[in-house]
Each structure stands twice: as structure tokens, then as C-alpha cells.
């Protein structure tokens, strides 16, 4: 009785289901709305108390607001990516065994993460714009959306290899916090290893958006390459571990 269905139909139904699941959890939406202003203003007020150290290129308060914006734009999608994978892992396995393509399943999960990413990026940029003059809003938004997508994928990756909510969340908090602290210049370091962290290049591009300068092509290219590598790695690991194909149903 079954016929071959176009994969676009499956993708649409899968994406629709993932988004519905996400928005029907009120705490998800509430956190997306509440956390950006809280985090950004907290970072700004905390760093405002810092003296302007010789290696700092901007005022500590403005630096805090920018760092808080990037932190929240990265962290929220990361946690959502983590929970997207963990909370539905066994049901996803059943769906995959029933014949749902792994690519469609991956894109469905990523779709819900992207929705959260766009919302967080817009809200974070809006909050930042109330305290700091952002010269290029379009570039700023694109960079924050990229950061959210990048860390959303990292959240999915961690959720796949470490399918535990508490431990996965702790790993993400630690990684995003250290990453942003190194990228923002709050800590003076020339260690080459800092360039391997996900936010290193996006931070440079975002700072250019805030300052109204043209971003360095090398930074944009490096960030895009980093994003492509993380996308491929997450897809491969997700399809190998999170969704198992088979002939059952």
C-alpha cells in the first residue's frame, strides 16, 4: 500500500513537527525572550566595573555588552541544539527505523535550532543596540545568526556523543564562556590555540559590524570554513550515532 514519497514532503512534515515541538514548550520561548536582555546587561554592568587595561581597545562596558551579546547568541542555540537531539533521541530512532531519511531528520532538528537562532540573534542585537551604537545592523545580525547556527550545531554534536542533559549543558556553558572570554580580548593572550575556538573569527567580524568598518575577508573566510567543517562533522556523527537506519518500523 505504500508508495515512494517525495523527500521534500518528508522534509516539510519533519520540519513542521520539530518546530511545533519546540514552540509548544513554553519554557523554551520564555528563555529565548528573557535571557538575552538579562545576560547582555549583566555582562555590561560587570565589565563596567573593570578598569580599562592597557591591552583593551574599547571601553570595558561596551566590551562587556558585545561579549554578552555573542555569548547569549551562541549559548541559547547551543543548548537548544543539545536538547533537540537528546529529548527526542529514541523517538527519532524509531522514526528512522520506520523509514524516515536521516538527512530529513537532521534537517528537521537543525530547522528548529535555526528558528531559535534567528529569534535570539534579532533580540540580542536589539538589546545591544539600546546600549551601544551598532554601525552595521545587517552585518551584526548575520554574524549573530551565524554564531547561533554554529553553536547550535555544536550543541547537536555534543548531544549526540554525550546524550546527557546535565553534563552536556555544563560542557556547553564552559566551552562558550571560555571561547567568548578569549575572543573578546578581556583576557590578554596571544596563544595560537585561541584561533581554534569557534567564536574567534566571528567575534572579529561582529566587532567590525559594531564599529562600522569592513570585516577582514580572511576572518569571514575562516569563519565560513569553520562553519562548514562543523556542519559536515555534526551531520556525519548524527547520522552515525543518533539516527540508526534499518528495515523495521
Amino acid at each position: 500500500m505504500t508508495v515512494s514519497r517525495p523527500s521534500s514532503d518528508r522534509l516539510r512534515v519533519g520540519l513542521d513537527a520539530a518546530v511545533r515541538e519546540f514552540v509548544r514548550e513554553p519554557i523554551n520561548v520564555a528563555l529565548l525572550v528573557v535571557l538575552p536582555p538579562v545576560v547582555i546587561t549583566s555582562y555590561e554592568s560587570m565589565l563596567s566595573a573593570f578598569p580599562r587595561l592597557p591591552y583593551m581597545t574599547t571601553d570595558p562596558g561596551a566590551l562587556g555588552a558585545t561579549a554578552g551579546t555573542l555569548f547569549v547568541a551562541a549559548f541559547l542555540p547551543a543548548v537548544i541544539g543539545l536538547f533537540q537531539v537528546i529529548s527526542a533521541q529514541r523517538a527519532d530512532e524509531r522514526l528512522s527505523l520506520a523509514g524516515f531519511p536521516e538527512l530529513a531528520l537532521f534537517v528537521s532538528r537543525l530547522g528548529a535550532v535555526c528558528l531559535a537562532t534567528l529569534l535570539t540573534a534579532a533580540l540580542s542585537l536589539g538589546v545591544l543596540a539600546t546600549t551601544t551604537e551598532v554601525e552595521s545592523l545587517a552585518l551584526g545580525f548575520l554574524t549573530l545568526a551565524f554564531v547561533g547556527g554554529l553553536y547550535g550545531l555544536i550543541g547537536m554534536l555534543i548531544g549526540t556523543v554525550l546524550p546527557r542533559e546535565l553534563e552536556g549543558s555544563l560542557v556547553l556553558i564552559f566551552v562558550v564562556d571560555v571561547d567568548e572570554a578569549l575572543a573578546s580580548g578581556v583576557i590578554a593572550t596571544d596563544a595560537a590555540a585561541t584561533k581554534l575556538f569557534p567564536l574567534h573569527y566571528p567575534h572579529e567580524v561582529f566587532q567590525a559590524a559594531v564599529d562600522g568598518t569592513a570585516p577582514a575577508a580572511s576572518d569571514v573566510l575562516a569563519a565560513a570554513t569553520y562553519g562548514a567543517i562543523v556542519l559536515v562533522a555534526t551531520f556525519l556523527v548524527y547520522t552515525a550515532l543518533a539516527a540508526t537506519g534499518g528495515g523495521g518500523g
Binding site: M1, T2, V3, S4, R5, D9, R10, V13, G14, A17, R20, E21, R24, E25, A88, R90, A91, E93, R94, L95, S96, L97, A98, G99, F100, T244, G245, G246, G247, G248, G249
Partner: protein
């Protein structure tokens, strides 16, 4: 890793199937599975040590075994959720799987759940709607179609769990403790449904730690010490000890 042969993928080296073989919809041969500890000095647990099972069209098979005997492991290997360390699984037709835990999406409605799994099975919207309505009427959950899964009672969730396994008209239906949470009416409806499936030629395998109505089964296999034994005529050791049959 389990060698999994689906439909016509039979190796050329094998002889042509006999008439009896053509009725076989699912065969697991010499299945072995050991859960190894990932930590040093951890214990390995040998669950299956050469279990074989053959399920033919139109028969209802009960697989019984004590707690921890490996029933769910066997089921997962047969449906392809888990790989065996050794052995082969030969599938000839569509498989329906009703897992012991309701593996459903909590925040989707019943209708949305049918739509999603129907797409996975490759059914078109009309077929999905028809299967949904037929199963909702049979198992009496028509009034809950627009309810979210997490807002259903345990019994109703189990009905949806079962219906998802059935909606694509499988050739063999594998049920892991299927009637947990069913009320008496639903339990009877379940057996009516099973009888109708058997009539249509669908094979049904039910895994349970208790089988208390032996006459409903064509065969009963007992899983003990990692292997399966046909105990249809002699009564299982577990049944003898626990007085369940």
C-alpha cells in the same frame, strides 16, 4: 554486526526457498549479543548465545522469559534497532514494531504523530488518514486525535504506540509488552485486532514476561540462558514456577 537480509536480497549461494520458507516473514538465526562494559574491570553481560526464531505468515507467536532474560534485546535485534554480535536476521516484508516504552514525540498531537510516521512509512495523506481513522475506531481513541501525546493517559499512549506500529499494514508485527496499561475493553479489542490481522496473514510476535492465555497463541517460545526453546506443548519453566500458564 548482524547480517540483515531484507526482501529479495537473498545471497545467490542459497538454494531456492521451499513452499514452507516462502511463508517465513522473519527469521533470526543464531543471534548472539553480549553487552560489554566500557570501563576497565567492568562486567560483560552475555544476553543471547545463539537464539533462533522463525515467524511465518498468519501465526501468533508468544516469546516469554524472565526479567533480564534478553527479550527486549532480541526484539531490538529483530527490528534492526540493535546489532547482534553474531547471527543473521532475514526479513521478508514490512515490519511493524511496538516498543515497550512509547517512543513518541510528547508535544505532537495524535494526528500529527500519525502524519509524521505515515510519511516515514512512505504513505500518502489519504492512506495516513484512512489508517488513523480505522485504528482510532478499533482501539477507541477517536476523541483524542487532537490531544498532545503528553496529555494522554498511559493506556491511551500505549494505544497510539501500537497504532503507529500497525498503520502501514505490516507483514509481521513485533510487540514488546503491548498491553501494559490497557483496560479490559482495550485488552479485548487488542485480541480482536490480533485475530483480524492473523486472518489477513499478518504474523504477530508478542514478547511478554507473562503469558496468561495460552490458547491465543499458535506457538510459545521461551527465552532462557540466551536461547529460545519451543515450549508450546510442554509449558515453560518460568510458567511452571510462576504459575502463569
Amino acid at each position: 554486526m548482524t547480517e540483515r537480509i531484507v526482501g529479495t536480497e537473498r545471497p545467490e549461494s542459497e538454494s531456492e526457498p521451499t513452499a514452507g520458507d516462502r511463508d517465513v516473514v522473519l527469521r533470526g538465526s543464531d543471534l548472539a549479543k553480549t553487552y560489554s562494559s566500557r570501563l576497565p574491570f567492568g562486567r560483560s553481560v552475555e544476553v543471547l548465545t545463539g537464539a533462533s526464531v522463525t515467524i511465518r505468515r498468519g501465526e501468533v507467536v508468544g516469546i516469554v522469559g524472565g526479567n533480564g532474560s534478553g527479550k527486549s534485546t532480541l526484539m531490538k535485534i529483530l527490528v534492526g534497532e540493535l546489532d547482534a554480535d553474531e547471527g543473521t536476521v532475514d526479513v521478508n516484508g514490512r515490519v511493524g514494531w511496538c516498543p515497550q516504552d512509547e517512543l513518541l514525540y510528547d508535544r505532537l498531537t495524535v494526528e500529527e504523530t500519525f502524519r509524521l510516521f505515515g510519511e516515514a512509512y512512505g504513505m500518502d495523506p489519504t492512506e495516513i488518514e484512512s489508517a488513523r481513522d480505522r485504528l482510532a475506531e478499533t482501539l477507541d481513541f477517536e476523541e483524542f486525535l487532537d490531544y498532545r501525546i503528553d496529555r494522554l493517559s498511559g493506556g491511551n499512549r500505549q494505544k497510539i504506540n501500537l497504532s503507529i506500529a500497525l498503520m502501514h499494514d505490516p507483514d509481521v508485527l513485533l510487540l514488546d509488552e503491548p498491553y501494559t496499561g490497557f483496560d479490559w475493553e482495550t485488552y479485548l479489542a487488542f485480541w480482536d485486532l490480533t485475530a483480524a490481522l492473523r486472518e489477513r496473514g499478518t504474523a504477530v510476535a508478542i514478547i511478554s514476561h507473562l503469558i496468561n492465555e495460552q490458547e491465543r497463541f499458535d506457538r510459545i517460545l521461551e527465552l532462557a540462558d540466551g536461547t529460545l526453546t519451543d515450549v508450546t506443548d510442554e509449558g515453560s519453566s518460568q510458567a511452571g514456577e510462576e504459575g502463569v500458564r
